[in-house]
Symmetry: C2
Subunit: 338 residues, 2 copies
DNA sequence: TGATAATATGGTATCGATATCATATATCAT
DNA sequence: ATGATATATGATATCGATACCATATTATCA
């Protein structure tokens, strides 16, 4: 592959002059500029950004370290990240951790070695030690979707607590009292926050004694398993409404209820945190509160890039941006048929 | 940030010795090794892979240039790519082109400058000029999902033609004659191949005069629009079965049919190329032929990485791997209720 | 007209690592 | 004891670009 030296020789100038032409910096006469451009074309020269990055200390690459691209919520978030990054001239490296802290820190170490300009992180654990690693290297970082115990980070997330409250209240307003919550992994802040919001709503409405919630996974299978276990318990009162802490869980619940011959919403109302992607939905059916995943990805990326740009003197006051959620009432909760 | 020199000075050795310790190469005495490791720890040294890559000419990064991560098929493919790459020690940069050739070549140019070790490409156009760009740089390339006019590339794709034939034959076997196909963009080989398979099946069964197919987009909206237009034509016979060339189109069809009060499968049978992701499905309903998206991503990545490794003397005989599709018969085609 | 600024180009050092070659000591077989 | 081999460490050049400083030419203006 030809280098800047080859181009320089061919054009009869110094390498630095070629550099000026390529980067449109400094002074170059029209005549020389043309000669250089011609040489570039003839040789099929492609500048080596690696070498440039080594000198300039900027790679124009950021990384998104998150749980799983096949989860629709993160899927749309990822797209928001990519679009926003691409607009600003950055590429994105994607890393799936599947909620494993080990995997997470393995990725983070590698990314730091690769000198990415910044990292977007959905931490697998509330006390992620990856955060420390990243901050030790003074690499800009924005945490997405989740809270962490370390407060010295920018965070972009949805209002899990408020959303859970809203959804629970919706069910209560419809007359439900025995409302069961199927949440995600206990180590994840969104799982916890959704439990908190649910409990606050129950307590505020004098339903403390009906509080009934379970931690599990953010997966379809978890929804199936929890539903099975709840409805197979003998001699125990069954819920009249189930609140799924995410969309995959809700799909599992609906599938298993159908399997058991239990009708939604007639026998049991169901609602969910996060909906099913529109482009995969035939009939909108699921009552849910939705977070603006795409916008969250965009916003987090914008913040990250602004941190990258201010890097020499990093700011010390961190932002926590909480996106409001939106309640959509549909048939599954029996609230309104829409 | 400390460099290899800082570590070397602290440990009282030469930089190259530090390099040997880090990379576990060459000979280093136990004593020195310990001193070096201690210095690494104390300084929080992180090797700069950029510098290494500049010398070694390998970045351990590949790129996936495709249409859209939010499309479920590509979504699972992407996950296959990431998993497979990660196992082999590679990171993946994702680029969404949204079927735009301009966007595609913009990304490709940047990726080549970044010296990615290889590129996985879902070309937006049958005659993608990005392919030439990539091959000029002698960067390994694997085309996924689609055919291209240039035959000197490795290709990993699904059997669109065969799958379409299978699905059409299924409908014919059920007694349908007026079968309409809603395909994707005409410039995309999978759209064309699905049309071919459909036509071959129709012709083989003496149904040439019922051939009725339309190009559109691979989107839910396209399914809605085409359905509307078909069923609003007055005085023209309506299809008894619709074949959607991808899952998003099928969702649009089902949604619009429901909107029009047309029952599936009683009034119209519907089937689709590619299904709806299982983890988002409450009741499996859609008859479809599915491609193993995840495996295709894996396989393409494996081939790419093997090409990268053989790079000094690149092979000149290219592989075309065609994954078979799997027919699943469900209620939507009225074939069998399962 | 001379001084100052703007324009145009190049030389050299450097980013942080590693390849290559060189050198020095320890170990071993004969 | 001697040469051969394994072990251990370092000096120097280099990957491909750019930052910084230097120099030369041309333009501009008091």
């Amino acid at each position: 592959m030809p280098t800047i030296h080859d181009v320089a020789k061919k054009a009869g100038v110094a390498p630095i002059t070629v550099s000026r032409v390529i980067n449109n910096s400094g002074y170059v006469s029209e005549k020389v500029r043309n000669r250089v451009n011609q040489a570039v074309d003839e040789l099929g020269y492609v500048p080596n950004i690696l070498a440039r990055s080594l000198k300039s200390k900027r790679t124009n690459t950021i990384a998104l370290v998150f749980t799983d691209i096949t989860n629709p919520f993160f899927n749309f978030m990822a797209r928001g990240v990519e679009d926003s990054a691409s607009d600003a001239g950055y590429n994105v490296i994607f890393c799936n951790t599947d909620e494993s802290s080990d995997q997470e820190s393995k990725y983070v170490k590698l990314l730091l070695q690769k000198q990415v300009d910044g990292i977007l992180l959905v931490p697998a654990d509330t006390r992620s030690n990856s955060i420390q690693l990243i901050q030790d290297q003074k690499t800009p970082l924005v945490v997405i979707d989740r809270c962490v115990s370390n407060k010295n980070v920018d965070i972009v997330r949805g209002d899990s607590e408020g959303g859970a409250y809203l959804l629970t209240k919706h069910l209560i307003d419809l007359g439900h009292r025995r409302i069961t919550l199927f949440s995600g992994p206990e180590a994840v802040s969104t799982s916890q926050d959704r439990v908190k919001g649910y409990k606050r709503a129950m307590e505020n409405h004098g339903l403390s004694k009906f509080v009934d919630c379970y931690y599990g996974k953010f997966s379809r299978q978890s929804g199936i398993d929890l539903t099975k276990s709840i409805f197979s318990k003998e001699n125990s009162p069954k819920p009249t409404a189930i609140f799924a802490a995410n969309n995959l869980i809700s799909v599992g619940i609906l599938a298993e209820l159908r399997n058991l011959g239990i009708k939604v919403p007639q026998d049991v109302a169901v609602c969910s945190f996060d909906g099913i992607p529109e482009n995969l939905t035939v009939i909108p059916f699921l009552t849910n509160v939705a977070q603006p995943a795409y916008k969250m990805g965009q916003k987090a990326t914008e913040i990250l890039i602004s941190r990258i740009k201010e890097k020499p003197e990093p700011s010390t006051d961190f932002e926590e941006i909480i996106f409001p959620v939106e309640l959509t009432i549909r048939e599954s909760s029996g609230g309104k048929i829409g």
